[in-house]
């Protein structure tokens, strides 16, 4: 059963190649698989939809280029929804490399919905220090941001007239791939009681489910799937929906690999080659089961 042993100890570069093909082909030849909207994303949409036109919404896009594949399409979709609803967006970022991405999201969304800077939105840009900024906005927005990203004093921006803290904002929307979200929950929601909607990477999403149950979050958009659901809700076809075909294909490849690996393990056990093959495939070199046991 040499082939079984070889299959169990397959060169990971072959797996990498399969994944690369699985990502590339659907992006080149899209199938447009259907998207089901989950309750958490629907709740986020409904919360924004329920705001009256003219409401001020703080949108903090706290991410850098490494996770833009998940969060940029999400930002564009959420901003487009805000502009379509004639909400007035106060946008910012807590990451230095997020300035270019935040500007890009605003540019794309405003162009698509005909929104105008300083009339429909304002871009505050980057400010360092998570907690300091969040508390600063709660106490005195102008103290934290005397001018916007382009150097315009906040007092001379029409949509910021009368706005100086969370109290004058109908909602805070945090789109993040880091612990910034924890701080927004702790400070903007916990301390200043601002209604909060969160968008985050897929791997982070389940961390925030308890906050939805406790109503500390009004809605949660998780990863590219969440962004694709949001695009469907606002009836657009953006990068997230395009990316879902590739994501589906890669998941399918991983499932097939797992099935093939288990079939090979089953065959090797029946032919009495289980030990050697199992140790070889263990990869970590000890051949011992870990305490997570099952997972190894």
């Amino acid at each position: 059963m040499i082939w079984v042993r070889k299959l169990l100890a397959i060169d990971r570069r072959i797996i990498f190649l399969l994944v690369a093909v699985g990502v590339t082909v659907p992006l080149l030849f899209p199938v447009n698989l259907p998207i089901t909207v989950t309750p958490r994303v629907q709740a986020a949409y409904d919360a924004i939809e329920a705001l009256p036109p003219g409401s001020k919404v703080l949108v903090s896009m706290d991410y850098e280029p490494d996770i833009m594949a998940e969060l940029l399409p999400m930002s564009v979709a959420v901003l487009r929804h805000c502009f379509r609803k004639h909400l007035q967006v106060i946008a910012m970022t807590l990451y230095p490399a997020g300035t270019g991405l935040g500007e890009r999201a605003l540019r794309e969304a405003s162009k698509a919905e005909g929104a105008v800077r300083n009339r429909d939105f304002v871009w505050l840009g980057y400010k360092s220090g998570f907690q300091v900024v969040m508390i600063g906005i709660g106490e005195n927005l102008r103290g934290m941001y005397p001018v916007d990203f382009y150097g315009t004093p906040l007092d001379s921006i029409p949509i910021l007239r009368g706005v100086n803290s969370y109290r004058q904002m109908a909602m805070v929307i945090n789109l993040s791939g880091s612990s910034a979200t924890d701080y927004w929950i702790q400070f903007a929601q916990g301390r200043f009681h601002a209604p909060l909607v969160v968008g985050c990477t897929a791997v982070m999403a389940t961390d925030y489910y308890p906050y939805l149950s406790s109503k500390q979050l009004l809605g949660l958009i998780g990863g590219m799937k969440g962004a694709a659901e949001y695009e469907r809700l606002i009836d657009t076809f953006g990068d997230a929906r395009r990316g879902m075909d590739a994501q589906s294909m890669v998941h399918l490849i991983i499932v097939l690999l797992v099935v093939v690996g288990n079939a090979a393990l089953f065959i090797s056990k029946r032919s009495g080659a289980g030990g050697a093959a199992g140790a070889g495939a263990g990869g970590a070199g000890t051949g011992e089961p870990g305490p997570g046991g099952a997972a190894r």
Partner: protein, 264 residues
């Protein structure tokens, strides 16, 4: 525009937290008294920590180093403190056995603290001369630059044991999978629940959540340290009882306790 300034000196919505902390402190005091009076405090074996000696022994036999990754957080994270305390114990064993230790750091303040702790550990083990200056070193405060550097080190130097302890984020699997590729024995522990599955998949042993915080006391075996683990267990029993009671009362239509338990 001006808001009413809050002049209260206590937030009544946080009584629950204060009472919880006072209970915890009381449990701690009782168990410290028990420990000082010579009571036998039992702590169940933790496989990942038992394996640390095996990992260091293996590195010594093979003439290779032990790589210790202290997580990607700063001194404001309790997980980082756990990483520091574990390294202090681990460095003593490393010094005793005489193998090499490498600690790449993400945060400069953490690096300074770790450097002091490792020097002291070598002295305590009676091998101050064996401490290699530069074994605790700064790499980068950028997540993926740090990963690239540590992965490169793993592939070039092939450490025999990789120990990951502290707060980890998206880099957890990138590090652990590269370590698995090099054939090193891998032990991980993190307080970041989201990253636990990745470590469980790619490492030989994983400390789950609170085991990370218990590790220092477990390795040190000092009675007062062990008392803190027992206090933690008592607090957990209290939390479980509160949850069950709140659930029963809520089912019976009394939501007072559920509301009170919410943190304002």
């Amino acid at each position: 525009m001006t808001q009413a300034l809050d002049t209260r000196w206590f937030d009544p919505a946080r009584w629950n937290v204060l009472i919880g902390i006072l209970f915890f402190a009381a449990f701690l005091a009782v168990n410290i008294i028990r420990a000082r009076s010579g009571s036998n405090l039992y702590v169940r074996p933790i496989a990942g920590l038992e394996a640390l000696d095996e990992a260091i022994g293996r590195a010594t036999e093979m003439g290779r180093s032990v790589l210790y990754v202290p997580g990607l957080s700063d001194m404001t994270e309790v997980g980082t403190f756990a990483a520091i305390t574990i390294l202090y114990r681990l460095a003593q064993r490393v010094a005793e056995m005489g193998c090499d230790l490498d600690v790449p750091c993400y945060d400069p303040v953490v690096m300074t603290v770790l450097d002091g702790a490792v020097r002291e550990a070598y002295s305590k083990a009676g091998r101050p001369d064996a401490f290699r200056p530069g074994s605790v070193h700064y790499v980068s405060a950028q997540q993926f630059a740090y990963v690239a550097a540590v992965n490169g080190y793993m592939l070039r130097e092939r450490p025999a044991a990789n120990i990951y302890m502290g707060s980890f984020y998206a880099e957890s699997l990138l590090l652990a999978e590269t370590g698995a590729l090099t054939g090193a024995i891998q032990i991980a522990g993190t307080d970041k629940v989201t990253q636990l599955p990745f470590f469980v998949c790619a490492c030989d042993y994983t400390l789950l959540g609170e085991e990370l915080f218990a590790a220092s006391a477990y390795l040190g075996k000092e009675p007062i340290q062990l008392a803190t683990i027992i206090a933690q267990d008592w607090a957990k029993a209290l939390a479980a009882a509160a949850v069950v009671l709140a659930l029963a009362l809520a089912t019976a239509g009394h939501t007072g306790l559920t509301t009170w338990l919410k943190i304002g």
